[in-house]
């Protein structure tokens, strides 16, 4: 009997361990931010020691490459004003999870990023209307702000960026070509294929690796995909104001053109891309590859090793693309937490104003981020953004970030990555049809899910 009682007790104890699996989805979030808070240890210490009466700032940042700069700036701000600033950066690809769990805490972020249409849908209720605030007065343009359907200014662009194909012109010349040859897809293709063919004798290849793991796949499922969305948008004659319910897929062929060129003329065999492990940035910096698909935020990282690095548009075989410019837009938009105390909101807005108007602070921001659309912000020295401005000055059209409308963006991109993995392993028509299904039909499906009750 005693033994029976003991075993009943033991089995009860074990059953209890099941609860862990169940409560998981509610509390799993705590696990995700463990990885993201590592850089913020110092900032947290600051919070504790400072006076709590005057409001404080907690910024949940989504750009890992910006973390170092803003941690420094946060410290500096605390030193000069005494206002505690805590900055936490979400690990790459986990921003929305981290935001969700952080927002539920009593010490929720006062400043967070709502960078696209889907974000506005989810978070508009938790953001204050920034219309008429001090930070809104600092803006030099309204072009990068996000409004909800009621016209509330939910989030406010703090910088804008561009992406395209980063090129090392020195290597192009070494290969016996010139940048003037690359004015459209045909030109790009000729140069890239020639370099790839002679990669062994040249000592470098055309494109750096296009890994499909989380740290890199967004370059293709987010950015490169933009060319398809953009040309659809352009054809429709009007800028998208909200997420379209479906795509036509008319420019999938062009997406394929450029995608095929990138994966087949690269340092890495397309079959080895699925699990990643290659460092595309390093490949470009070390002169192992002439082309690198990425954005203006890479300027600070690559310009040291490749001072002549320049950025060209996504040439993909669309008629008239000689007049194409870079993809310009932003996902860097600040929202202020509506549930934060008034003192915290005020402190946060003051901090934002400081970031965009203080000469040193805005200079540091601009160096990392690109151009800040504010009256008193420092001038940008970002070569890629200067390239973008040059294209515009030459009368080229700007490819705006239609990508920002991707519905249920994480699920949508995950399916696209899976399809592209199949395609990379075996570039058959059937596999391309899968990519098309994920790209075009997946849009409509995810749109339906995102807008379901």
């Amino acid at each position: 009997m005693k033994k029976k009682l003991l075993s009943v007790f033991l089995c009860a104890a074990m059953t209890m361990s099941l609860f862990a699996g169940c409560g998981g989805s509610g509390s799993a979030a705590t696990g995700t931010d463990a990885g993201s808070t590592d850089a913020s240890g110092d900032a947290e210490a600051v919070t504790e020691t400072a006076a709590s009466g005057e409001g404080s700032v907690y910024w949940l940042n989504f750009k890992p490459e910006l973390d170092e700069t803003i941690q420094e700036l946060g410290k500096k701000y605390t030193e000069t004003t005494g206002v505690p600033v805590k900055i936490v950066t979400a690990a790459s690809g986990t921003y929305s999870q981290t935001l969700q769990s952080e927002m539920d805490k009593s010490e929720a972020p006062t400043l967070f990023v709502v960078g696209n249409a889907a974000g506005v849908k989810d978070w508009a209720d938790y953001a204050i209307d920034l219309t008429g605030t001090k930070i809104a007065d600092e803006l030099s343009t309204d072009a990068y702000n996000l409004y909800d359907e009621t016209g509330k200014l939910v989030s406010i662009g703090y910088c804008y960026e561009c992406y395209g194909i980063i090129v090392n012109p020195d290597l192009i010349e070494k290969a016996g070509h010139s940048m003037d040859e690359i004015k459209n897809f045909e030109g790009l293709k000729t140069v890239a294929e020639d370099i790839h063919k002679n990669a062994d004798t040249l000592g470098f290849d055309a494109f750096s690796s296009s890994d499909m793991d989380d740290s890199s796949s967004w370059r293709f499922t987010g950015h490169l995909a933009n060319l398809e969305y953009f040309y659809e948008e352009k054809e429709s004659g009007a800028k998208w104001e909200e997420c379209p319910a479906s795509l036509t897929g008319k420019y999938m062929e062009n997406y394929k053109n450029l995608y095929d060129l990138i994966i087949n003329n690269s340092l890495t065999d397309p079959k080895d891309l699925a699990n990643g492990g290659h460092d595309a940035e390093a490949e470009f910096k070390e002169g192992k590859a002439a082309f690198f698909v990425n954005g203006s935020w890479e300027y600070a990282a690559v310009s040291g090793d490749v001072p002549n690095a320049t950025m060209i548009p996504y040439y993909c075989g669309v008629a008239g693309e000689e007049k194409a410019g870079l993809n310009c837009g932003t996902e860097n938009c600040w929202a202020v937490n509506a549930n934060a105390s008034e003192a915290d909101q005020q402190a946060t807005i003051d901090f934002m104003v400081w970031l965009v108007s203080d000469p040193d602070a805005s200079k540091a921001m601009v160096e990392q981020l690109g151009i800040m659309p504010y009256k008193n912000a420092a001038e940008s020295s970002n070569g890629f953004l200067n390239d973008a401005a040059k294209y515009t000055a030459d009368g080229c059209y700007v490819m705006d970030w239609a990508t920002n409308y991707q519905p249920n963006v994480d699920d949508y991109r995950a399916a696209l990555v899976a399809a592209l993995n199949q395609y990379n392993a075996d570039q058959s028509d059937a596999n391309w049809d899968l990519v098309k299904a994920a790209f075009v039909d997946g849009w409509a499906t995810q749109y339906g899910l995102a807008n379901a009750d």
């Binding site: 989805s25 039909d441 997946g442």
Partner: protein, 298 residues
């Protein structure tokens, strides 16, 4: 004098049990019981943030049941749990049996076999993904490209991680089998396999109960390794562009539902989690009841 002395500790335990149990109990309630109750409540709600949940009744459960990916992940998880349960236990028992046969260096072997258990699931997942891809890339494929690779890859990973742990439990069980019983059997002319199946195994039935219970529930609850090894890939892209994640197990499905989709999906994920709990608890108890019947009372 003696009598009062022996009673004192018991009485004082009765008096002070809260002092000793209190902290654990409090932690258990704060970290376990309360979130669990809250989780059940949230499964009837629509919410973005937990603090402003809105009660909507049973509709989350309807959506959870009609979700094809959830049903798929249930099937996949069930197959995985059964296969891993059998393989892990057979292997663990075998290793334990061998290591109780007075082999030289058996302590070293035990330590080595147990060590994988000390590594976290996420780390293991990424390491094994690299190992598998190192091999598979020779054949121009990847663990992310074929469901069967993902399945067997996860099985291999789990075996590697779990066998050592289960082995310890089996060793404890095997060492408790009375030597005189085995000696008597061998004097009566029982063969080695007869001794194994008629005497040893019935006597280690309590260990088998524990191990199979742990194996089954571990199989169902698996999350970290699944996330890190394949993350659900490869997907079957259906004609409407939606995707079935062919190696996504239930816990990962719940996680992906919670963070992946629209505003109302958080409640659905919560409903799935409650269903998941009922399922795992039910299965575990059933299995426990069944195996317990076969235990030999000494």
């Amino acid at each position: 004098m003696n009598k009062t002395r022996s009673k004192t500790p018991k009485e004082s335990i009765k008096k002070h049990f809260l002092l000793f149990m209190g902290p654990v109990l409090a932690a258990f309630i704060i970290g376990f019981v309360w979130p669990f109750i809250q989780g059940i409540y949230l499964s009837f709600c629509k919410f973005r943030l937990i603090k402003d949940a809105e009660f909507i009744g049973f509709s989350n459960y309807g959506k959870a049941f009609s979700d094809a990916s959830f049903r798929y992940s249930f099937d996949y998880t069930a197959v995985f749990a059964v296969v891993s349960l059998v393989l892990i236990n057979v292997l663990a028992f075998t290793v334990a049996y061998i290591l109780t046969q007075n082999i030289k260096g058996s302590n070293l072997f035990r330590t080595v076999f147990f060590m994988p258990n000390l590594i976290g699931g996420i780390v293991l997942g990424y390491i094994w993904a690299m190992i598998f891809d190192g091999i598979l890339s020779r054949y121009s494929t990847s663990i992310l490209l074929e469901t069967k690779y993902g399945f067997w890859g996860l099985i291999i990973l789990m075996i590697w991680q779990q066998v050592g742990y289960m082995m310890i439990i089996y060793i404890a069980g095997l060492q408790a089998v009375p030597d005189d019983m085995i000696e008597a059997a061998s004097i009566d002319g029982a063969s080695r396999s007869q001794i194994l199946f008629r005497i040893t195994i019935p006597n280690v039935m309590p260990s088998i109960t524990i191990c199979s219970f742990l194996g089954l529930t571990n199989g169902f609850k698996l999350f970290d390794q699944n996330l890190a090894l394949t993350g659900g890939q490869p997907f079957i892209i259906q004609s409407d562009g939606s995707a079935i994640k062919t190696t996504e197990m239930m816990a990962l499905n719940i996680f992906n539902t919670f963070y992946g989709s629209n505003k109302s999906a958080t409640g659905v994920a919560q409903a799935k989690a409650v269903l998941f709990f009922i399922l795992v608890a039910g299965l575990g108890l059933l299995q426990l009841a069944y195996t317990r019947k076969r235990e030999v009372q000494q």
